[in-house]
Symmetry: D2
Subunit: 179 residues, 4 copies
Amino acid sequence: MLHPRVVYVQIFTAGGTIDKVYFDAKSEYEVGEPQITEILRTSGASFQFGCEALFRKDSLELTDADRAEIARHVATSDAERVILTHGTDTMVETALAIEDALGPEPTRTVVLVGSLTPARFKSTDAEFNVGFAAAAVQTLPPGVYIAMNGRVFRPREVRKNRPANRFESLVDGVEPDAR
Amino acid sequence: MLHPRVVYVQIFTAGGTIDKVYFDAKSEYEVGEPQITEILRTSGASFQFGCEALFRKDSLELTDADRAEIARHVATSDAERVILTHGTDTMVETALAIEDALGPEPTRTVVLVGSLTPARFKSTDAEFNVGFAAAAVQTLPPGVYIAMNGRVFRPREVRKNRPANRFESLVDGVEPDAR
Amino acid sequence: MLHPRVVYVQIFTAGGTIDKVYFDAKSEYEVGEPQITEILRTSGASFQFGCEALFRKDSLELTDADRAEIARHVATSDAERVILTHGTDTMVETALAIEDALGPEPTRTVVLVGSLTPARFKSTDAEFNVGFAAAAVQTLPPGVYIAMNGRVFRPREVRKNRPANRFESLVDGVEPDAR
Amino acid sequence: MLHPRVVYVQIFTAGGTIDKVYFDAKSEYEVGEPQITEILRTSGASFQFGCEALFRKDSLELTDADRAEIARHVATSDAERVILTHGTDTMVETALAIEDALGPEPTRTVVLVGSLTPARFKSTDAEFNVGFAAAAVQTLPPGVYIAMNGRVFRPREVRKNRPANRFESLVDGVEPDAR
């Protein structure tokens, strides 16, 4: 088995709650700068990474064309490991679009992650989720995964339960076959 | 391949910086209550877990007898997945003690994690690290691992670089054979 | 000069950015529970206080009838010292309404305060501003004041500069005659 | 009555819990950079100020010579308003030394403040206390004051209750005659 001697993770960002900031001047909330690189820096993460911001949108506002562009970026990246930060409401749809783009025998590991509370809040799931995704992308076999609520989900086996504000398995706890 | 239908993670805590609090009444710093359960709760982690506090010590104060007790708890746990929060200065020694206790064919995945800055600080690696460990323990094959600085290390292949205040691979980036 | 032997501060809350929370389930921001009492508790404030939530509104949504109700509560309170937390966009209007209600010879000290960033953010002016207001209400002579940006302003001598997102004196730095 | 057209606050720092950081490399806690200027900046305070760091010590380590130097800096400052951040254990002693240096008819307002929990903690009294001191120094008549626990105390009328970890009035709630 080949051992990569240097871990490199390509990060793409599409917006979502994790990047939301509050602009009092407008009394409203907007998607701001990607927070994931600041989280990685603060946490002392020592793997190599690059970050490219693709969109700054609420995921409800992402169009099919946007998803196609995200999938194209992921599918044509040189990296074997990709993290995509993304709003939670349509994270599953984008994961499926990427799965289609990678085809039946994917050669890279792609992990979608976001947060249910903005990273700038005192109490937030953002740092935990980014840490979770950083481990998942380094340890899981090639394929597309959603990493939310401290769980790894296959895109076809998960839904966001909006009233409960969490991701839930559609297959009663069945895990990806990582072990 | 067997799919566990419910993910259960057994958590043990041994103290360390992650749990440090400041007691102004004494003008000093002490190891306080385990912070990992609060982090999991705040982050909306939805896997099942139990937590048992074994020690509340700076890891420099842990004795060989303490390590033997920690290893015994891990080796006799019913859980297939174990996270141990631990001070960083002797994390490697304890990981090796657990590796010895589990023998050459371990049947459970054990992840040691801690933080370089207390969880109670505004800027800390604690939430990220706990998230990272939570993914590692669910995705890695049986064995003992150290999860620090956004990397997974084998106990015999890592050291804490104290002046640089980070964990570094002794084998130039070689990763565990998870993929 | 009479020395009050116990300091009591009556707090009223009208909503505003200071109390804003983010509801991911709705992908929007709303005014939530008053944050001031939690701030006072966390900060170890040892004066006595009571808190009554009057409104949970963006201050742009407060009507004249709402202002009249706020002014009535302040004017009929038994307390000599009143803090009102309020959105920043119409804080001046409400302060003027209270000034009218108290008449030309006010017998109580009223301090309006809010924040430009929600109290739940990691980086926020909320704790500082509440501390500032807590001192102002204990030290200023009877009258109505706005406490924002680390300054004490008379209601007729201040405006919110919305593009700059701060309160500014209309009289070039003239302070209340507290000394 | 003269109105200052620009508010200027001179800040001196002597160390103490408010500035404490944790150095994991040494597994210990030390007094670091002054935090007050960062707090003022984050909070959008718009008065003018200068900051000079005099000591970085636990207040238990401050000597009489140190206090004399602090008092000399305060007494010879050009500023009418001075905030001194200081450790809590000997804050009263330093306040008395400053009171002596200013003489029976002080011409400036001096406010001593610190915190019971480091400013870098998620949950801390530092921002609140700095806000409180910022208002106190702008509104109180000339003299020396201790601003802790949301109260203004005269140096001779307060003690730190170490077991309860708070400042308490020795005169049962008597306030400075600010109104």
